[in-house]
Amino acid sequence: MIEFKNVSKEYEQGIALGNLNLKIEAGELFVLVGPSGSGKTTLLKMINGLNKPTHGEILIAGQNIIKSDINELRHNIGYVLQSGALFPNMTVEQNAAIQLDLLGWNDEKKYQRISELMTRVGLDPTTFLQRMPSELSGGEAQRVGIVRALAGQPNIVLMDEPFSALDPISRVQLQELVMELHREIETTFVFVTHDMQEALKLADRLAVLHHGELQQVGRPQEILAHPANQYVKNFFDNDTSVAIFLQQVIDAGFGVRQTNEVAIPMGDDQTIFDWSREINDHPDQLIVVDNIILRSEDLVNYMATLRVGVIK
């Protein structure tokens, strides 16, 4: 369990975090979300002491981290950075085993542990262990980054916008991987992102930060259903309402080719919210988008395929 007590961080330029209280439960996948400059990364880096609070204290399992040995603390915290941040002068194996070196594991145990994890994240050890980071794709590098963070069986894993630099396909794959890994190993994950979709998808619980202030903490559904304030409401509104166009419904495989049925024509740039209003006024009304007929049931079916959080 990680606990922030009255934590604030002041720089010469201003306040980065203001008097913040937060508890992260052991074993949960906790997401810190907010726009850039909101203080979420500052907060994350206080957990492993890369950043020190100006006031207040941080407790891990009830122990104030200032009073514990900083390197010993860090040996039990995994860290995944943006774009992998692998050391270019070391092989994949050496990179992945850094924390094991520090923990004093012997070579054979190290090799076994790293091979096992490499296999788990979908990288064949015989192919990848002796490669240099420059020979990896972005997705592969970040998988190695995850192996490196998990190798020492840490109590806490911190992830600082780990997927922001990846292409959409790799990002989705790695999001799935993180969720699976979190289910398998009962470790606390703290994940920082500015991508609200990613936050809603991954989080057991999440905290919304803005201008160094905690706006709301809770499960995704709670926050979506009961945004604590206008800021939180807008933060999620913006992203959902403009996101889903009728074209996306058709791309998802709904609708049939035009027959001779009567249908109201709508543009592919109109959203499912425009469509909902239409159905609200005229139940059973068909619409036609670019020669494809959509029925009211298609809307319900389409919405059912979406993940929690994408719609209100």
């Binding site: 890369l50 900083i70 603390l73 860090r74 915290i77 050391f87 002068n89 911190l158």
Partner: protein
């Protein structure tokens, strides 16, 4: 050229060895200072900036000035050369190392910190390996710089390939010049290539190689020091040129023949008058040959006019050196290296010229050309004109290097000369006797501290064997052998001493 290389192979290899020795020591010391300094200052950007600026300022001081400043402090030879080279090499190594170490992607440093690595682990596994290409390129720049600048070590008796360049310039010997210049250029290229290869080798191996080199050179230095301590070593230096080099080789042979426990170290082509005089006073040089005329005109303070009488001039120089500097000026040799006027020998016969007075009568038929200094100075042509009433048909100034040839080629009929110049013999010229005693006397004699002379009476005795020896003609002949025929000064000196039974074969 090939003949030259064959004849001098042994000495060239020694010079090359010295060059490499000086360069490697300087490079290793510079690395040992600059790299750790850069490491210490990684987290202190202000300190790093300050060191960069200091190193940059040192870089702008001319190397000759640094060598000059170092002589009173640490003496002559390889030590000041190495210090100067180290001072120069620190800047490129430090700047490259520092920017290599401080420009590592901050996210990598953050990653290392986040995993809780020790400072040592971070330095040796992350920072140094990542900065290594920059550090190596700094070292490469520095080593090439060092190898080039090491040629200057020859100026202060440090040895190395620069000796050949200097000798080549002074004695007009293209072979020596080419050997010195080409070998040092090749050495720089080779070192550049070797370091490039080293750059691809791991840090561990590099540390091992540097460590081994350090130990080897340390061992070498200590053993040579220990071996050298058994005998007394005295240092004899000479000014630029062939004549001083012949003289100091004679000193060496005479001293070593009579004092088996004394080892004489020679520093030929050591520099100009004031450079040598300072080195002597600071005890870095024990003995050097100096001319009476130079003593009277440049070294001691005197209100008297310089005497034209050799004996008077010597006695006065001796007295003033003792009084003003505590120096002992031993007895002079016979020859005088004076100013003189020279004519072609056939003209001398034709006009029956043997003295300057003889010249007065026929001067209105002759054209003359003089060194610009001689033409202007009161103790040169203007004074001469007054004393002897000489009136030439025409008088012009000419580059000193060209005037002998112009005379030989009959472009002119009279020029100024030094009485021991080898060209007098080469072009078959005659010098005219200064029968009214107008020119100051320049007689050569060994100069040393009085304290040194008192402590080493045996050496004084050995050197006094040369008193009143060597005629002007003999000196001229030896200069001809060395500067024109390119024979070795040591051999020419030795032959003279044997011929005149001053030492045994």
């Amino acid at each position: 050229m090939i003949e030259y290389l064959q004849k001098n192979a042994g000495e060239i290899i020694t010079a090359l060895g010295q060059h490499i020795y000086i360069s490697v020591i300087a490079a290793v010391i510079a690395i040992a200072i600059a790299v750790p300094l850069a490491i210490v200052l990684i987290d202190h950007p202000k300190g790093g900036e300050l060191v960069s600026q200091i190193a940059g300022v040192i870089q702008t001081i001319p190397s000759l000035a640094i060598l000059g400043l170092l002589i009173p402090l640490v003496g002559i030879g390889t030590l000041p050369a190495i210090i100067a080279l180290v001072l120069y090499a620190i800047m490129p190594i430090f700047q490259n190392s520092y920017s290599g170490l401080t420009n590592i992607d901050p996210i990598l440093i953050e990653a290392a910190d986040a995993f809780g690595v020790s400072k040592r682990f971070k330095l040796f596994r992350v920072q140094l390996p990542l900065a290594l290409p920059m550090i190596i390129s700094g070292i490469r720049i520095a080593v090439v710089l060092i190898i080039g600048t090491t040629t200057l070590a020859a100026l202060i008796g440090g040895g190395g390939l620069g000796t050949y360049i200097l000798v080549g310039i002074q004695t007009n010997d293209d072979h020596a010049l080419v050997v010195g210049a080409v070998l040092s250029a090749l050495l720089a290229l080779l070192a550049n290539a070797i370091i490039k290869i080293l750059g691809r080798v791991s840090l561990k191996k590099i540390v091992i190689v540097i460590g081994t080199l350090l130990i080897m050179f340390g061992g070498y230095t200590i053993t040579t020091k220990l071996l050298a301590q058994r005998t007394q070593t005295i240092t004899i230096a000479g000014k630029m040129g062939g004549e001083p080099e012949i003289l100091i080789n004679m000193y060496k042979d005479l001293i070593e023949a009579n004092n088996p426990n004394v080892n004489v170290e020679l520093k030929p082509n050591f520099g100009g008058t004031s450079f040598l005089f300072k080195a002597l006073n600071s005890g870095k040089v024990d003995i050097y040959p100096e001319f009476t005329g130079t003593v009277m005109q440049s070294l001691v303070q005197t209100s008297d006019k310089v005497s034209h009488n050799p004996q008077k001039s010597y006695q006065e120089a001796k007295r003033l050196l003792q009084k003003q500097f505590g120096l002992s000026y031993l007895k002079p040799m016979k020859y005088e290296n004076n100013y003189a006027l020279a004519v072609r020998s056939d003209d001398a016969k034709k006009y029956k010229l043997s003295t300057l007075s003889n010249l007065t009568k026929v001067s209105d038929q002759l054209t003359a050309a003089f060194d610009p200094d001689f033409y202007q100075q009161s103790d040169g042509y203007p004074g001469l004109k007054m004393t002897y009433g000489i009136e030439f048909l025409s008088v012009k100034t000419m580059e000193p290097a060209l005037r002998y040839q112009a005379l030989a080629n009959r472009k002119i009929d009279v020029t100024d000369a030094y009485t021991t110049d080898p060209q007098l013999r080469q072009y078959n010229l005659t010098t005219l006797k200064d029968d009214h005693g107008f020119f100051p006397s320049y007689q050569g004699a060994p100069l040393m501290k009085t304290s040194f002379a008192k402590k080493n009476p045996q050496i004084v005795k050995s050197l006094n064997q040369l008193a009143d020896k060597i005629s002007t003609r003999e000196m001229q002949e030896m200069n001809y052998q060395v500067s024109v025929k390119h024979r070795k000064a040591a051999v020419v000196a030795n032959e003279y001493l044997i011929k005149h039974k001053l030492i045994e074969q």
